[in-house]
Symmetry: C2
Amino acid sequence: MKRRRFLSTLAVGTTLPVLGPFAARDALRSREQTASDRARAVRVLAFDTFGTVVDWRSSVIAEGQQLGKTKGLSVDWAAFADAWRAGYGPSMNRVRKGDLPWTKLDVLHRTTLDGLLTKFNVDGLSEDEKVRFNRVWHRLRPWPDSVDGLKQLRARFVLTPLSNGNISLLTNMAKHAQLPWDCILSAEVVRHYKPDPETYLMVADIFDLKPSEVMMVAAHQGDLDAAQKLGLKTAYVHRPLEYGPGKASVPPPAGRFDFVAKDFRDLAAQLGT
Amino acid sequence: MKRRRFLSTLAVGTTLPVLGPFAARDALRSREQTASDRARAVRVLAFDTFGTVVDWRSSVIAEGQQLGKTKGLSVDWAAFADAWRAGYGPSMNRVRKGDLPWTKLDVLHRTTLDGLLTKFNVDGLSEDEKVRFNRVWHRLRPWPDSVDGLKQLRARFVLTPLSNGNISLLTNMAKHAQLPWDCILSAEVVRHYKPDPETYLMVADIFDLKPSEVMMVAAHQGDLDAAQKLGLKTAYVHRPLEYGPGKASVPPPAGRFDFVAKDFRDLAAQLGT
């Protein structure tokens, strides 16, 4: 059911009516031109990272299991990963609301980690081991299509992350996962976490562009809604496994964002790169 | 004479005394260990760009000549390039001293360009042509060793520009010249032009390092002096053609900086990458 609904929302090439080869070709061509028009003025693609480019959940679980094996721990690492991620929004909101001064995501992650180590009864980690485990967020693995898709898109656009991850986290992540960014932009540059407007508007400001010449790419509708309100173009990329099997969110209806794509290769195809 | 003096200052591998193969090998090994020790704690290499990574002078001359041909202009483009570069320091000093609010280098370059177009009697450029010519600084060509040397160094270190060029300038330059940076750091991030301390100290702050775990790489001793005073490691790279033929600066004496290299490949060899 979810799958069927998802397919019906895809913008290009998957649900062409059966009208013979020429009609189908013309319909496809017409849709491609429309897609190309919508992106013609776009110069920079700005990507959400956690969940959109990299698979945080399976990466945290895998490193947790490895740590558990080494240290003889018995922990539900899937629950641990989900709880760590669940602390992400609330911890940033403390900064966004002014309860905390500007604080890097690494430090927020560590505060959440310390609470979870207690909650999950994890004893016996040295400070070095905690520091290393906290930096699992620097070593997240890309989705299978991420690197190839970004390489295709890079031929036509400037590519940057636009993430709440701090600059060193995003830089190490890119080095580890071989993500071919053209630069690294982070909430840390303007010291405002998404969805604060400053973060989205920074990209246009830095590149001397109008907001509509920047396109936000994300797997999360809230991120795209905030970008869209400020005049950025938007591309939704579906990541059905972000929260684990059987927990796919429902993709947005056609027309809700400028592009709706199955993955980065599909986005590259829709953008004609 | 200059060449001889330069060679005598090189740290490694060029002036080994002739004591037979084993003595030479041991001396070399011992010096390499020393060099390796000096860089052991370094995690990030931060590069000056104009003159150090890219050859601004020949690039500006070449584009000026092309523009002159198209527009039928008769201009001494070498003098023009030198005058444009000569306006660089004074224009940034106006920002550093507070005479101007924070202003991107693109805008400072444009102000200098407008003055030079008058001074060199260049008429008849449209606004689009001026905008395009001003962005020649986004399209500077790398020195012949830059890309290969950076690729070697990237295997062991995080590489970033640390330049007064704005982020879009450095990003476009990297895309154009295929410079394999891991991230793009610029004076624009902290809104302080080098040699203000904030710019150098930003790198350690962003990567949670001590200043001594960051090494500044530059062809200009003033840049390295400022970095050294703040505790950064320093590597001088000789660029004898930066200001044109016959205008090479005298390299620093051995020991003045942590490393003195002929080019980026030599620096990579000295650092054992």
